[in-house]
């Protein structure tokens, strides 16, 4: 297991050095999107429209933060469960998305897309929203403001602690449950 400090946007070289189990401290800009924003982004693409952010080399963080209290850039901001975005993720990886951040298992289709388009899936600690929010230095809504907590935001993060869950070579970190009945 290795440890890396990475800066967004991510390159193919960044991604290909990573293996499941590696620790990453991520800095730079990441874009937030969850269920409703993904649906809208994919609908926009289907109509020949554009995504609200430059997708090549970018990182999407599956999060719907709590409102920012006075004097803070963001409220609590931990990851949401990723599988709900599985239906949208392969299209985005195909367009050049390099990483997603969330928690929980991904579908075989997403794992295949990571191999095909050389992407990675990072896990952040679920339920540690207060702690993780300390790594967010700035936050701004850039699209779909009407979606409230589900709006697309650009976050400036510093040393955001991540684990490589699925790498670009089919490797996976999650434990296989030992179910003996």
């Amino acid at each position: 297991m290795s440890e890396y400090k990475l800066q967004t946007p991510l390159t193919e070289k960044d991604v290909l050095q990573l293996r499941a189990g590696d620790k990453v401290l991520l800095s730079g800009l990441v874009y937030t999107a969850r269920d409703a924003a993904h649906k809208r982004m994919l609908e926009a693409l289907a109509k020949g429209g554009e995504l609200p952010f430059p997708v090549k080399g970018s990182v999407i963080y599956y999060v719907g933060p709590t409102p920012a209290p006075l004097g803070r850039p963001i409220g609590s901001a931990g990851p949401t469960t990723s599988y709900r975005m599985d239906t949208y993720a392969p299209t985005l990886y195909k367009l050049g998305l390099k990483a997603t951040i969330g928690k929980g298992k991904r579908s075989p289709e997403v794992i295949e897309a990571l191999k095909t388009y050389k992407g990675v899936y990072f896990g952040a600690t679920g339920g540690a929203g207060a702690l993780l929010s300390q790594c967010v230095k700035q936050a701004k809504i850039i699209a779909y403001e009407d979606l409230g907590p589900e709006a697309v935001r650009v976050l400036h993060v510093q040393d955001f602690p991540l684990l490589v869950i699925n790498d670009a070579f089919g490797g996976e970190l999650y434990a296989k449950p030992q179910l003996i009945l």
Binding site: K39, G64, G78, T80, K103, G126, A128, P149, L163, P177
Partner: protein
Amino acid sequence: MRIISENQIIETVAELVQEANINLPEDVKQALVKALEEETNPVGKEILRQLVENYKLAEQTQLPLCQDTGLAIFFVELGQDVFIEGDLVEAINQGVRLGYEAGFLRKSVCDPFTRINTGDNTPAFIHLDLVKGDKLKIKFMAKGGGSENMSRATMLTPAQGWKGIKEFVLKRIAEAGPNPCPPIIVGIGIGGTFDYAPILAKKALFRPLTLEHWDSELAAKEKELLTAINELGIGPMGLGGKITCLGVKIEKSPCHIASLPLAVNIQCHSSRRKEVEI
């Protein structure tokens, strides 16, 4: 006859939802600290260290423990000698509205078809029990979507019995894996009806981790399941390890001679609950 005003309820609920979302109950904190001591997988240990740091930081900064500040779930015990001046259900909803706004909590309720957010985290989900006495007890839980999505209910046959119950619970938790944010707490409702078993399962989640079932037979079953779940090796956040589950809580009810209803309500490690009595 005791009179409780609508305003008293609104203020109490507004405070309750904010406190519960920031301060983890003592029993859950202790369980996380103990888990950190006992976990042997270094990655799992690191996760638990973050979770302990997270609850401390939430208290210091008054930030919510988790960004998913949940659906507002209430179990209300209304003494039959209480007269509510005004509308009890509306008062609880108003308390949720005010508390979620004032506490900078996320509004996570939407229409199931349009997915348009109601904007104020209402409606609250209220289970009302009429009890003896002149008190009003309000139990609140902020229930996150990630763990709720991993919960299941089924109708077993009487022949399947405890073995069938155990199999269903273990299969469900194995399949859920990392998704519901382990280490989890498992609420199990056994018996009743198709609709009542899940309510029992949710009710079970209100019992503190330190409190065993009063019925020693059920307490033994809770322990048996806890051991079996931890033997799955899912570990903190699904990364492997000894600590998959912090506690199993069972509630049972008589049921039809033809049925064995079963519900498994999974709760993430951030078990945010609090109760007050007026």
